[in-house]
Amino acid sequence: MIEGILQYEFLRNSFITGMIIGVIAPLLGVFIVVRRLSLIADALSHVTLAGIAANLLLSKQFAFFAGISPLYMGTVFSVAGALFIEKLRSVYKHFQELAIPIILSGGVGLGVIFISLADGFNTDLFGYLFGSVSAVGRTDLYLIILISIVVIMVVFALYKELFILSFDEEHARASGLHVKSIHFVFIVLVALVIAASMRIVGILLVSSLMTLPVAASIRIAKGFKQTIILSIIFGEVSVLGGLTFSYYLDLAPGGTIVMIAVLILILTMAVKKFSFQKAG
């Protein structure tokens, strides 16, 4: 596989992307999980699908859109979806989780319409749904690198604000923090990470890469920092392991990545149980 990576640019791109999303997806995933917002990731990934379908449709009509990667349009939709979720959450103050099914079904509905207008499924779309090792082009890679730099820098800069917001929103408000803006920045970051991860793991499984490594690490970690570090390690192992398997066995990478993440989760559950039995 090493030769393959050295020889083929597409493989190289995929592995670099994999290494990047193995970091940023679980990094934001920790905040998503502890704030019980896991479904938002799902909703946004479906909106991203609508964006990609829109681009496929547009590229049939206008040469301009055929020239650019659908990922850009996906990113735009994802961020727009994030803003819309915020709007809905403030409208339905007492039923904030309503925003999620609204956005999710809206995204799927729009996506399906665009797809049927664009004369149905093609293999490209299949890659977007389930991920692909051969899909990351050079311009995709640039966008993904840019997104990851932004995400990591913002999380680093706003770490303590994001922590306080996740742990105790009322305390954050009482401390005079501008909770709304911080949350807003956060949700846009989530949208960006989903767009960046989609190429490799696929739309249907993006949210798993954000939540499964966290679910595993939360069981054994002490404290928040450790939870983040372990989540990133688990995410990285899942992505690189999954890509390797999918390369040799010719499987969709999204599936193998997620299955490895599930395996890690089961292992941590077993380890925890075992260590309890030993102690007790």
Partner: protein, 260 residues
């Protein structure tokens, strides 16, 4: 001990969540350096009043000033420490250590983009030791008892060295011995560190020898004044501290407000 300068001043405040007012015509002030107990029956609006003081809610009418500034202009929120009544109803599965939770009390003081320095961590450690949780530094907060969790939140409120500490029924779920220790700690903070305290409590007995001022709330401010006056009144009236039906008291309160 308390000076004439009022850290909190409230004038003709009205507040309602929905249609009905839960606070009506509230006039209130708290002198610097005082230790004030805010009492009243369940649902009388105590927590609501605190939320208004903390800027978590906006009044429909009336004025609130803190540290001499209109609340809308006030910026130095790190001067105020707050322990909410709901503090220990957090998600106990949350993966954060005692150290991390207490450190989050420094967020505003440090300011945007600033990170914790060595001194800040030192301060966090001191505060955790001061509330007697030194051995649980790296324990996940969900793995502590209710009373210990409560002390974590008190440490979080104290870590930024606030000038005003607001506590909403902080002793719920704390055992009798720890309650006494806790009151002594508050007394020490008030007397020896000059921290102004605003304490919502149902345990007037327990704090009566510590507090300097009392406010009785039941939708309206029924009594508001010094502890001595409160004692005198209590002796005069056969009614006890929740004194629902004492319009005379609220009248007296207005006179006092006017004198000031």
């Amino acid at each position: 001990m308390s000076s004439n300068y009022s850290i909190i001043e409230i004038e003709r405040l009205y507040y309602r969540y929905d249609r009905e007012y839960v606070l009506e015509d509230i006039n209130f002030f708290q002198p610097e350096g005082s230790f004030l107990a805010l009492v009243g029956p369940n649902g009388s609006g105590k927590s609501t009043l605190l939320k208004l003081i903390l800027g978590l809610l906006r009044p429909q009418s009336g004025e609130i000033s803190i540290f001499g500034e209109k609340i809308s202009q006030f910026k130095n929120w790190e001067w105020i420490g707050f322990v909410s009544q709901k503090a220990n109803s957090f998600n106990t599965g949350f993966p954060a250590t005692v150290q991390e939770v207490v450190a989050s009390g420094l967020t505003k003081k440090l300011g945007l983009f600033k990170r914790m320095g060595k001194k800040d961590w030192q301060r966090v450690k001191e505060t955790i030791d001061a509330v007697g949780l030194g051995e649980f530094y790296h324990r996940n907060i969900g793995e502590l008892s209710g009373g210990q969790q409560q002390r974590v939140f008190i440490a979080r409120a104290l870590v930024s060295k606030p000038k005003l500490l607001i506590l909403d029924e902080p002793t719920v779920g704390v055992d009798a011995k720890n309650i006494r220790d806790f009151y002594s700690m508050l007394d020490d903070l008030n007397r020896n560190h000059g921290i102004t305290l605003l304490l919502v409590t149902h345990d007037m007995e327990g704090v009566s020898d510590k507090v300097t001022h009392v406010a009785c709330l039941n939708k309206k401010m029924i009594f508001h004044g010094k502890m001595e006056e409160f004692n005198k009144l209590k002796a005069d009236e056969s009614s006890h501290l929740y004194g629902y039906s004492l319009p005379i008291l609220s009248h007296k309160h207005h006179l006092e407000g006017a004198e000031k």
